[in-house]
């Protein structure tokens, strides 16, 4: 490579480093708002966040970036793997941001904050009507933005692509149809089973102080590095990184529900491990993030469900749980395992069991797709929601709050995001069987509580690469195949047919 290109590469990395510093600052400011900030500071802090996002906007869409793209795109084949990915990512962000007229984006930002507030109020008052006009605006904005972004076949593809590069309705319809069918089959099987699972012992009083101790134990077991991260408490758990050496996760505690925190911690811990394992090499390239929302979710759900709810992992943690919560001291591992994996179709996505969870996501996907394409109208959502829940899950929401108002995503204009959750499940299944193919005892060995093998495998094959590969490329590279539902469905079938015998 000639000197001139090398010099230009240094320049572009310096520029990206500035953007990344601002992103880190935004992350810290956001974390602080949720964890430490005194409440009277909210307004001033919103200005700070506004300042930061304005600066990121300027740096991501300025003439400098345009120059870099024009310089590098014609010679992109000459670049190294990482540099190539860096320029591709810079261009994707530039295009996405630049295509929306600044004025419209500002209007969207203002509309969003009104919409979020309206959603909160609607939820509290259990009245979709309050939210309806705002949701209509959000849908309009997203339809308009989809046109700006551009798409080949379907308007909704433009939104999917934001969260899962390369994903389209054409692919997703097929994937989700298979997934839905597979899950409904297993659910049918379970309904016919005579198996009675007792989970009453999980509803007791569990001291928060001891639950906190358990959280640290769990993070230690999955090898989340507390010297490069931390754990705090929020109503809605999240993971956020201020670089790969400062990964912050949160959880929530429910005195009456031991599992709520347990699987929340493991879930966010899975996201956190991804961020902690991202290679230092990627710092300052803009690639020091997960490959996509779906791939990120595959890691959290793999840790939460495939590992976290496995009998092998539960065996490792049960003794500690018994010690901290003596009311559980006579619970047998088999019974604990069954209780943890109890299946019951329900109304709320975030409280769903592992099996039916994806159905909640598919319902949202189907609705989003039709909304964006103008096939259904916002005002009909409560009815459509109810019908789909009855059809797929056999449960009927009695109110808007336990129905269409339960998730905040749409209030923030996040359409195309929901599918990531189910894609995460599917990817996770594929990764699981690839791990087992290479080492059939990878899960069995958990009896020694040693997650090293799985951790290292995920780190080497997925985490460390950050966003070098698109999700499509990554799945192909890691598993040798395109995305496929068969592994996740096989995993579900084997697991739940052995529980509900």
């Amino acid at each position: 490579m000639n000197k001139k290109i090398e010099k230009k590469l240094i320049e572009v990395k310096e520029h990206i480093t500035k953007i990344e510093e601002l992103n880190k600052l935004s992350a810290l400011v956001y974390w602080d708002m949720k964890i430490s900030m005194p409440k009277k500071s909210l307004e001033q802090r919103s200005n700070t966040l506004g300042y930061l996002s304005g600066e990121v906007f300027k740096l991501s869409t300025g003439l400098e970036v345009k120059g870099f793209i024009e310089y590098f795109m014609p010679i992109i084949k000459e670049l190294s793997l990482i540099d190539k990915a860096m320029i591709r990512k810079l261009k994707k962000d530039y295009d996405e941001t630049k295509k929306i007229p600044e004025q419209r984006y500002k209007e969207f930002t203002i509309a969003t904050s009104l919409s979020e507030a309206a959603w909160e109020e609607a939820r509290k008052k259990d009245d979709f009507k309050i939210f309806e006009p705002h949701l209509e605006k959000m849908v309009e904005f997203q339809r308009e933005f989809a046109d700006y972004y551009g798409y080949k076949e379907n308007k909704y593809d433009a939104l999917l692509d934001k969260y899962e590069e390369g994903m389209t309705i054409r692919k997703l319809d097929k994937i989700f149809e298979e997934l839905k069918e597979g899950i409904l089959n297993i659910l049918e099987y379970i309904k016919k089973s005579d198996k009675k699972i007792n989970k009453d012992f999980l509803e007791d009083k569990f001291k928060i102080k001891r639950q906190k101790k358990l959280s640290l134990f769990l993070l230690n077991k999955i090898k989340f590095d507390m010297e490069a991260g931390r754990l705090d408490e929020t109503t809605h758990p999240f993971t956020l990184d201020i670089g790969n050496k400062d990964v912050r996760i949160t959880t929530h505690y429910n005195k009456k529900d031991l599992l709520s925190n347990v699987f929340s911690v493991i879930h966010e811990g899975g996201h956190g491990l991804y961020e902690q394992h991202i290679s230092d090499e990627l710092i300052g390239t803009g690639l020091e993030h997960g490959a996509s929302m779906g791939i990120h979710e595959s890691q959290s759900r793999l840790y939460e469900n495939i590992i976290g709810r496995s009998k092998e992992f539960l065996k490792v943690i049960l003794p500690f749980i018994k010690e901290e919560f003596p009311s559980l001291k006579n619970v047998k591992l088999d019974k604990f395992y069954e209780a943890v994996n109890y299946v019951k179709p329900s109304l709320i996505r975030t409280e769903a069991d592992e099996l039916t969870y994806s159905l909640h996501v598919i319902i949202r996907y189907e609705i989003e797709k039709q909304l964006i394409n103008g096939d259904i109208e916002v005002k009909d959502l409560p009815r459509i929601w109810r019908e789909k829940y009855i059809e797929y899950l056999g449960v009927e929401p009695k109110t808007d709050s336990e129905g269409v108002l339960q998730d905040m995503h749409w209030s923030a204009g996040n359409f195309g995001y929901f599918p990531s959750y189910a894609l995460g499940n599917i990817y996770g299944g594929q990764f699981l069987y690839k791990i087992l193919e290479e080492n059939k005892d990878a899960i069995n060995n958990l009896v020694d509580g040693d997650l090293s093998y799985i951790n290292n495998w995920l780190s080497d094959n997925i985490h460390k690469h950050g966003a070098i590969y698109t999700p499509e490329e990554l799945v192909k590279k890691v598993t040798g195949e395109e995305i496929s539902t068969k592994y996740f469905l096989r995993y579900l079938e084997e697991k739940y047919k052995s529980i509900y015998i």
Copy 2:
């Protein structure tokens, strides 16, 4: 005022707002480093701080600011009080930053971090020699910087002016000479007194958990707003503001020493009240800070000593203390008051009693002044330090750690900063007598635990004005006089002669 000036004023405020946003971010990042950051993130975080200070440098010294100064200086008399002060402050910061060649400033920054590390090591190993060459460099840098800043009479004046605008050796020599003499007289009186004060009961075991409860009680008593601030724990207590609605203070706990935390919390609380009371009007003017280091310190020391160690305030807090620490339940208010105000010349500034504290500061001032003017050499510091401690305080440091190495200020190149502490005492005395002149019961009324009068007075007369006035202007405006030691000395004399009867 014409439209053009008004438009320009909006522009300059927008520019200053950006600088202030970056300053707030630096403050948050610093707080987070001390309180929340996982340790492996130190290096990445240093880069973030470096990025922020670079951006502040650019915004404070750029052509835009130069343009504002050139535009406004010729018409400054046409501006309002606040706008005038805003431009004056912008110019002062511009001049200070711009005068140092960028390359030299970078070298200084690098030298500082080495120097700080060397100081830490020297202190640990109790060996001044390790620190000596670094301190020499720090002195050289400050001498050089003083020349860049410029001064009329004395090189050291340039450094004093950074922390206390308008202060000079000519003024300070006289002030400190009076102060020293006054304090030594009272000390002489105390030495001759037969009064025996028992403070053994203050050295017991005090549960940290209960001390934390006490901290919140104290902050509540002085009316520090916990909805616009917070309290955390660090080895070295500090106050930091992320705007007037987010003022963060810290304290330290010593199991064996109840007072250490008590007066640390009240001291930082005093700094915090200043920041919380700064008027919203000043947001975005660059004046939303204290008037000077000395004025800031006057508030912390007024709360810590004049109020905090008064019998009236102790009467308010003693019942709570007795409840939390039953070993003190038989302590009488008079005995508690005496113990809290026990005078004993000692070696360590931060642990000094109220009376002798200023002597520690004066010693440092005398040394700094001579160092900067080349009248003494760094290598002689341990000896000079020892001689001055023997002369003024009658105590002899046996080691460098309990002598010349005890403070970190010089290792960071902060020369001219120490005098602020004693100036704070002096200002505080002046403010006290002004308050008493207006309301002779202002202190007596504390028997009801009501600090409202004093709080409001300080807020209205000092806090809310932020940095509109120079310290000189402010003291004149508030008290009608120039800085004068007589009030603080009168306060000390009345207080200590009544204790040591």
